[in-house]
Amino acid sequence: MARQGTELKTEISAGASVRGTLRGAEDLVVRGRVEGTITLDGALFVEAGGVVKADVTADRVMIAGALVGDVTARTSIEIAAQGRVIGDLVAPSLRTEPGARFAGQLSIGDEVAPREARPEPEVRVAPPPKPVEIAEPEAPTERPRSSTPVTTFSPTKTPHDERKKRRVVIKKRSR
């Protein structure tokens, strides 16, 4: 990745790891590991092999390694082909190379509100669950009389069990 900007360079080498808070006004290159929080007036480069488990605020963030955490960039976020990111990203612009992997929420564009001011994204609001119509249980009126215990997979499910199961499913969806 091309580096530009300040001359100063801080590097966490492949054999090094930092745990805690890291602040600064220069570029940071991570080939090793950083856990905690990173706040930079400069660019963050997570190189291939580098692992960052931190909430990050920086001018630019370039990820060719792995990053787990929320990222706020003042100018841009770039995820390289081998980069892997899990977390919420906020930046005026985002670039991902084919092959990059990302899981999380994106807020991209010039009018991105600061993180605190953002309303809960609508994506998260699931539609109200439809009333469940429970079909008349086909449960046989007579339970097997054998002395063997009824397994969970037995077709003799009681209506109560059925309702319970459905309720769980709905709960998951409404998250």
């Binding site: 080498s13 600064g24 905690g36």
Partner: protein, 111 residues
């Protein structure tokens, strides 16, 4: 390519730094440092418990230093710390306040 961790002059770390590679500090670290070779450059400020093979201080260091090799405070160094290690150099002009232990280290089991 030589691997080296460099903490630049504007960087402040609160926490722990562990490195198998040599570490150069130009900024500020509060917490603990474990490294093979640690260099605290002029202008840097380390307020930490340090464990390393060798330590060279030209900046400010407060805390505690344990080295399996050499600890050197250069003429620019300002150190307020307890030092433990088999070889200790304090240059003419250096500032130092603290305790020095040179034989205890040899008996102690390394953790």
């Amino acid at each position: 390519m030589e691997q080296r961790t460099t903490i630049g002059p504007t960087i402040e770390i609160d926490g722990d730094l562990v490195s198998e590679d040599p570490v150069t500090v130009q900024g500020r670290i509060r917490g603990t440092i474990e490294a093979n070779a640690l260099v605290v450059e002029s202008g840097a400020h380390v307020d930490a418990t340090v464990q390393a093979e060798s330590v060279e201080v030209s900046g400010a260091l407060d805390g505690k230093v344990e080295a399996s090799g050499r600890i050197e405070i250069t003429a620019e160094g300002r150190v307020t710390a307890d030092l433990a290690g088999p070889r200790i150099v304090i240059a003419d002009g250096a500032q130092f306040r603290g305790h020095i232990e040179m034989d205890k280290w040899r008996d102690k089991e390394r953790s």
